[in-house]
Amino acid sequence: MPNDRIPKLGRGQVALFVGTAKGLFVLRARADRASWDVGGPLFAGEQVPALALDPRDRRLYVASQSWHWGTTIRTSDDLGATWSDPASSVLKFPEDTALAMQQVWQIQPGRPSEPGVVYAGVAPAALFRSADRGVSWELVRGLHDHPHRERWMPGFGGLCLHTIVPDPVRPERMTVAISAAGVYRTDDGGATWHARNRGVRAEFLPDKHPEFGQCVHKIVQHPRRPDTLFLQTHWGLYRSDDGGDTWRDIARGVPSDFGFCMAIHPHDPDVVYIVPLESDGYRCTPEGRLRVYRTRDGGGKWEALREGLPQENAHETVLRDAMCTDALNPAGVYFGTRSGKVFASADGGAGWTCIVDGLPQVLCMRAAYLGDPSRAAVGPAARAARPASRTRRTPVARKRAAAAPRRKASRA
């Protein structure tokens, strides 16, 4: 039965799915992104560390994790109104590995040329592939059997494969990031994998340039320029122009080269967003100021984006999958914090708005425009024609908010 906990999503709207430590929240706006409806939680009490909306068939994938009963992959073909039988999708390690699933870190739809294929990165570090839209999953043995594996060391978040980058042009190529093992790439469809960390420093190891062992946090790639990759590590910002064969430092003009999240502009392969954090033990925004940094020249220089973001007493953390973009023009950029705030920009990062405050810790986010982005009414004229912006709630969310008024919708 469809639920009324989340707003009904339809054509011409922007959907923002927010995975938190206590469930899934769904936000909705028109293309102008001037006001937002907030709904949730779905799967209340369960952690949602990974989610994806497959652009090929609009299937929504959510990994939810119960403290007691383990991980479940749920799918929805109507944008969250109804969900699959949780018993129908089984993601677990084969018996011979003697491993047990700890957490799903990322769900990544495959390429347009491989319909039905979906990938999942998990802890303990491994890659799974589904060829049937997430019903059954198979361990990618080529990576699991890698000789480096026994020497991989876990990062603070555990030994996890958290980033999956399928090459959009070469179907046999895929790049993954593992903490704290580094970047690995296959060029033969997953049969063999090779460390791709040349030029990436491991500040925390005696050997600063090992073959593997770097603590990599996020990789982004633009589909129009697949050989260029950007990498955020534990103390480092890098760019590669040869698909990861070599990396060069691009951390100039940022208050810290430590951070987790990274996002690339949907239309401009030279525009990348990060949120630098004070490292190493603190891992919050430096000086209590929440600033997104943007490069518009592929890492040559970085500029601070602060309009609409709190510039005092803002000791925030943005986790590695808690930043995303939509496909509109001007692009929407979004991020969520460990303190449960979600910020949105409808103009590529120039100005920001806190669209909801008081969610549980934000773990992951995905945004999508439901329709043809080229025909969306996104401009200031469209925005001016709307009533003053505000955040609304679904009926259930309103009742919850009334019972416990801890979520304050705000607009900068």
Partner: protein
């Protein structure tokens, strides 16, 4: 005897979080003679296979925050999977009081 019903039907009580993996059922019951807990659980998996992965991780260990009682006895102190389950017993699965 505590936890033993008069009939020979074993009854397994499921907490809210496990019911989606058992077709929504709060209780599962069937005719069962006295048997070790491992055999009773195997019979439960036959009826609702998805429950197995919720109680055990794939390396064969109990999930750490699961408690199972035969009658009122926590099976951790009564022989674990070798615990004798009398005919007509009641088995209660509960989430441990844990979490964050």
């Amino acid at each position: 005897m505590s936890g033993v019903a008069r009939s020979g039907r074993v009854r397994v009580f499921l907490p809210q979080g496990l019911r989606p993996f058992a077709g929504g059922a709060a209780t599962v019951e069937w005719e069962q003679g006295e048997a070790p807990l491992a055999d009773v659980l195997a019979a439960l998996w036959e009826r609702h296979p998805a429950l197995r992965d919720r109680l055990f991780s794939e390396d064969g260990r109990w999930r750490p925050h699961v408690r199972v009682f035969v009658g009122t006895e926590d099976v951790r102190w009564s022989g674990d999977l070798a615990t004798r389950v009398p005919a007509g017993a009641e088995i209660t699965i509960v989430p441990a009081v844990s979490g964050g």
